[in-house]
Symmetry: C2
Subunit: 221 residues, 2 copies
DNA sequence: GAAAGTATGTTGTAATTACAACATTTCGGG
DNA sequence: CCCGAAATGTTGTAATTACAACATACTTTC
């Protein structure tokens, strides 16, 4: 198991090496590998496992009865998922979790939280609170990105956020076209088409997952 | 201030009356009233205040530059909002908060959390974790409700959720037409129109905010 | 470096939605 | 009961999107 990734995670922030290995034992940590495309959880399942990505990445998706995929979130190396379901273990999952690429997941049993002593437990709870709070912001951001009714507005809302995050008008995005389409809740072909139009209109430049937002200078008169 | 509502809130679960009034003082609790339609927070603002609805209700909205409103969540009496921003106080709000009706809000200063003793603080943190976790599920649900590309699919996804929650095929929803449209991210007139069609098609019955989902029986042959 | 497979771009048509304008219903006061 | 205001329903047209089908580009494998 790759301890170093866990060591740098939010969950174990403030804990030293021995505390971390004790905690991993106490929480029945177990690692499992998945191939790209494999399902890790399906909607309706129940789990008390807090999940940590030690390698690769997963998508949190909603797949409706008409076969439309909506990507709610992308969870990469060093991040957690399923924390809501782990902490409210009687709530069945609304979403699917799918390996976006080959990946490794560490599962931590949250029902074992009760067995920890108060000091450890409260430090861990504070860290968990940070995780859920940040996850909240991610979910809000996506709502923000899908709020515009039209494709161009959604693309701009998304690219703006990434640009602000990376402090640059030029950046890579973590999605391929199909994934970006599913994240923004639009058709892939419509997305490709709109990106072409936006390049023709001089708003952006892009090639594969590299994007550049072009600053428009308004001329007087 | 209406202590009884706070007393029954998730945040103060497990605390007795005197502990609660001590906490309210320690967190600089202050109540303020708002009229329907008034803005409580605007996007871009920074706050460390955890907000509690003691009366009425508020909407968490994203209003884009074209004037489209998207309702991310409805927060009613006895519930909290802005917890993410209160706990990550350097993050500017992405959303607006608006009084859905005349309401009263209690503001609790989260930067004062640090002054509490460990025991109180860890009990409070556990309760905060429950709040953020539940909020996560609400945000996920909305994503689920807006995942279908077509209006009818969104309406059905939403009504199904409410029906399951209320354990009944007949129920009231907390939204008027405009609010439901903004929640599902569709045009109000298109929503009204689709609801009429769905009634003609025998899928539902509805009148104002009272809905009934009609079970379709498939006949053999 | 050819072949096969995957990802991305383009185009046309059918279906859906946005938007505006107007009709109808509902609900509180006077 | 009537009025006005607000909410909801209806309709038509213009704009947008979904979907399918195909073209092109890029990757991987042998």
């Amino acid at each position: 198991m790759d301890i170093s990734v866990l060591h740098n995670s939010i969950l174990f922030k403030g804990f030293d090496d021995t505390e971390i290995s004790d905690l991993l034992k106490a929480l029945n940590a177990a690692e499992k590998k998945y191939n790209k495309g494999e399902m890790i959880f399906s909607s309706g399942e129940i789990t008390d496992k807090l999940c940590f990505v030690t390698a690769g990445g997963v998508t949190i998706e909603s797949n409706d009865m008409w076969g439309n995929r909506t990507i709610l979130n992308l969870v990469g190396k060093g991040q957690f998922f399923a924390e809501s379901y782990a902490l409210l273990p009687d709530v069945p999952m609304l979403v699917d979790v799918c390996a976006a690429e080959d990946c490794s997941i560490v599962f931590l049993s949250m029902k074992s939280l009760a067995n920890l002593n108060d000091t450890i437990s409260s430090r861990l709870l504070a860290n968990l609170l940070t995780i859920t709070t940040r996850k909240n912001l991610h979910l809000s951001s996506r709502s923000f990105h899908t709020a515009p009714r039209q494709v161009r507005g959604r693309i701009m809302a998304y690219l703006n956020t990434i640009s602000v995050q990376k402090h640059s008008r030029e950046f890579d995005i973590p999605f391929d076209r199909q994934q970006l389409a599913d994240y923004l809740n639009v058709e892939r072909s419509v997305l490709s088409n709109e990106l072409s139009k936006m390049q023709r209109d001089g708003l952006i430049r892009c090639r594969k997952n590299h994007f550049e937002i072009i600053t428009v200078t308004y001329l007087p008169g």
